[in-house]
């Protein structure tokens, strides 16, 4: 039995419980925050290495055998996602040491952080579709509490939209699960995939597939269900924004990758064509929305949406190379996006505002921060040799090979517009002189920004590393895509080889 499969779920639960039990001791919570996420990262790397070496790993929880018990399954995609979740968790925990005020810590920030990570990792690793729903809810509860932490008016407004739409999504998801269960009599994803092959009523399967598409599309922030995202992501504490930006929508993307490679592959011509349109529309609306914004975090929020489009494009093209691109894009995006939010938090710390119009002159006063911003910003836009270039390059090449010219055109255009957005932030925040009337705005001050600088620098270094060391990352993504394209590998690992 392989304990490493369950560790990424059990560890954050355990550390979350301990830190809740010690809720009165602030220092202990802070230490457990960093220690817990650090341990999680170690466990996640262990899991990835083990999965890389030995193929798909399975754990039958409580020794109840599949398909009756709940299984945790770690294929390469799941393991990669867990590592990325752990990286962003650790970065957030370290950054929070100075970014989160005493008051917010007192409201239970750290236990919620651990709980969120447990929910996210659970969703990445579970092999049971109903269990995935449960982890989604764990994640939703934790993220809702994190979103309103502090209880300001704008937060409540954003949170209501966020929760309502996510509950709608959960309801659709649950109905879809019900229909699938009625059709196949099982909840184990591998077993579902196995049994669906014999179901004759493919029309109903496509209907269920569309229900899952809507449900996960809402979670992922895909067109046309994205509007909860820019309404809520700029309201919470910036460390929370960073974690949300890195993980929450990606859980939706992961779920799309999982079900549309494992379960719904009967009518690829139809379902994946719709996915492709969704991808194109998501890219365009996201980037156009960003162009109209002048608030640092709102711009970044809209760019999450446009980037989600690229990931779905990788899934929709459904060729080996496109899936590699999709997986590569997720890896690149989580690191870069979290980092951009962290930078915006540091700018706020120094200047006391997120409004581009009121900011300025940061390059003159903080040149290092300017450089640290440029790394993820240019990477997001896809400038070589940073990580985003290779991610986009693989996807666009896959598009050309599949001869889907319009999506290639959209992807290239959106890349250009992303560059425009990043240059806009650069020009407004760092380059132009700050308007006189806003120069002496009260700001939290530079005390303790060393930790923030450190976190941002490490994340930027990772972006550069993914860019220069693209080959090993590409190999992992290629292997992950290989497993995704051959569902039999997953099914055999879970149910045992029964041929």
């Amino acid at each position: 039995m392989r304990p490493e499969v369950a560790l990424p779920v059990v560890l954050p639960l355990l550390f979350g419980a301990i830190s809740l039990a010690l809720w009165r001791y602030r220092t202990a919570q802070r230490v457990i925050g960093v220690l817990g996420t650090g341990t999680l990262l170690a466990a996640a790397v262990w899991l990835l290495l083990a999965t890389w070496r030995d193929g798909v790993l399975v754990m039958h929880m409580g020794n109840w055998q599949a398909p009756f018990g709940i299984v945790l399954v770690s294929d390469l995609l799941g393991a990669i996602m867990v590592v990325l979740a752990a990286i962003s968790g650790l970065a957030t925990a370290v950054y929070s040491l100075t970014a989160i005020s005493k008051r917010h810590e007192h409201y239970g920030y750290y236990p919620l952080l651990h709980l969120l990570l447990a929910g996210v990792n659970g969703a990445f690793l579970t092999g049971d579709i109903f269990n995935m729903y449960v982890w989604f809810e764990v994640m939703l509860v934790a993220s809702f509490a994190l979103l309103i932490l502090g209880g300001e008016r704008a937060q409540m407004e954003g949170a209501i939209k966020y929760v309502t739409l996510n509950l709608v999504s959960s309801a659709i998801f649950l109905s879809g699960i019900g229909l699938l269960y009625g059709l196949t009599g099982t909840l184990n994803m591998a077993d579902i995939a196995d049994k669906l092959a014999d179901v004759e009523d493919t029309g109903l399967i496509t209907v269920i597939a569309m229900m899952f598409l809507v449900s996960f599309g809402i979670k992922a922030g895909a067109f046309p269900f994205f509007f909860w995202l820019p309404a809520s992501y700029h309201t919470p504490q910036v460390a929370v924004s960073a974690l949300f930006a890195a993980l929450l929508t990606k859980v939706g993307v992961y779920a799309l990758f999982r079900v549309f490679t494992l379960i719904f592959t009967q009518d690829v011509g139809y379902t994946h064509e719709i996915l492709l349109w969704v991808a194109g529309a998501t890219m365009l609306t996201g980037v156009l929305g960003a162009a109209a914004q002048y608030e640092f975090r709102r711009i970044l929020s809209f760019h999450i949406i446009s980037q989600i489009g690229y990931m779905i494009m990788g899934l929709a093209l459904f060729t080996p190379l496109a899936l590699v691109g999709g997986v590569f894009y997720i890896m690149h995006h989580i690191i870069v996006k979290a980092n951009l939010f962290l930078v915006s938090g540091l700018v706020y710390r120094l200047k006391g505002t997120y409004e581009l119009k009121e900011l300025g002159g940061m390059y003159r006063s903080h040149p290092i921060l300017g450089l640290l911003f440029l790394v993820p910003a240019l990477s997001l836009a896809g400038i070589p040799p940073l990580s985003g270039f290779f991610a986009k390059f693989i996807l666009i090449r896959a598009g050309v090979e599949a001869e889907s010219w319009w999506i290639v055109f959209v992807a290239l255009l959106v890349g250009l517009l992303t560059l425009y957005s990043m240059i806009k932030i650069w020009a407004e925040v760092f380059w132009k002189a700050q308007p006189e009337e806003h120069a002496n705005r009260p700001a939290p001050g530079p005390k303790g920004t060393g930790v923030m600088y450190g976190t941002i620098a490490v994340m930027a270094a990772m972006t550069v590393f993914i860019g220069f060391g693209a080959q090993p990352i590409y190999l992992i993504a290629e292997q992950a895509a290989h497993q995704l394209l051959d569902p039999q590998i997953y099914i055999d690992a879970v149910l045992g080889d029964r041929s």
């Binding site: 039995m1 304990p3 369950a6 059990v10 639960l13 355990l14 979350g16 419980a17 301990i18 830190s19 809740l20 039990a21 010690l22 809720w23 754990m59 039958h60 929880m61 409580g62 020794n63 236990p111």
Partner: protein, 145 residues
């Protein structure tokens, strides 16, 4: 305007003095009886929480807090810790997480006793239920005060 939370009833107050230990004992009985027969951590926790809630209505919040002794938030935290820890021992025997582990031994008078990790899990559930129910009740009652 403040409202008196406690009901000035002699009957209720005297009865609650007797009921409190009885209900708490009953909740322990339910906790231990669970697993194979009706009972278990969740129901037992609700019974214990309602016992203390009854005490709160009959006496006052401070009395109820004294009976509870611990902070309800701590109970939730430690309950969760128990719940997660109950899954760990299986790992050391090379089995999957949350595989039940059982110990059997014979005690004088009581006879054969079977103890296992599900009991630890149930104790965790018990603490979480008591803690979260009373956290809600006491917070609301304090807001009334």
């Amino acid at each position: 305007m403040t409202r008196e939370l406690n009901i000035q009833s002699l009957i209720l107050r005297s009865a609650s003095q007797l009921l409190l230990p009885l209900l708490l004992m009953f909740s322990i009985f339910l906790l231990l009886r669970g697993h194979d027969e009706p009972g278990g951590g969740f129901i037992a926790g609700l019974v214990a929480a309602s016992a203390i809630a009854l005490h709160m209505f009959a006496q006052d919040i401070h009395q109820a807090k004294r009976v509870l002794y611990a902070d309800p938030r701590d109970l939730v935290g430690w309950g969760l810790v128990f719940g997660v820890i109950s899954g760990v021992p299986a790992i050391f025997k090379g089995q999957a997480f949350f595989t039940s582990q059982w110990l059997e031994f014979t005690m004088p008078i009581l006879g054969k006793i079977k103890v296992g990790t599900p009991l630890i899990f149930d104790i965790g559930v018990y603490l979480v239920v008591v803690g979260s129910v009373l956290l809600i009740l006491l917070t609301l009652a304090e807001a009334e005060d």
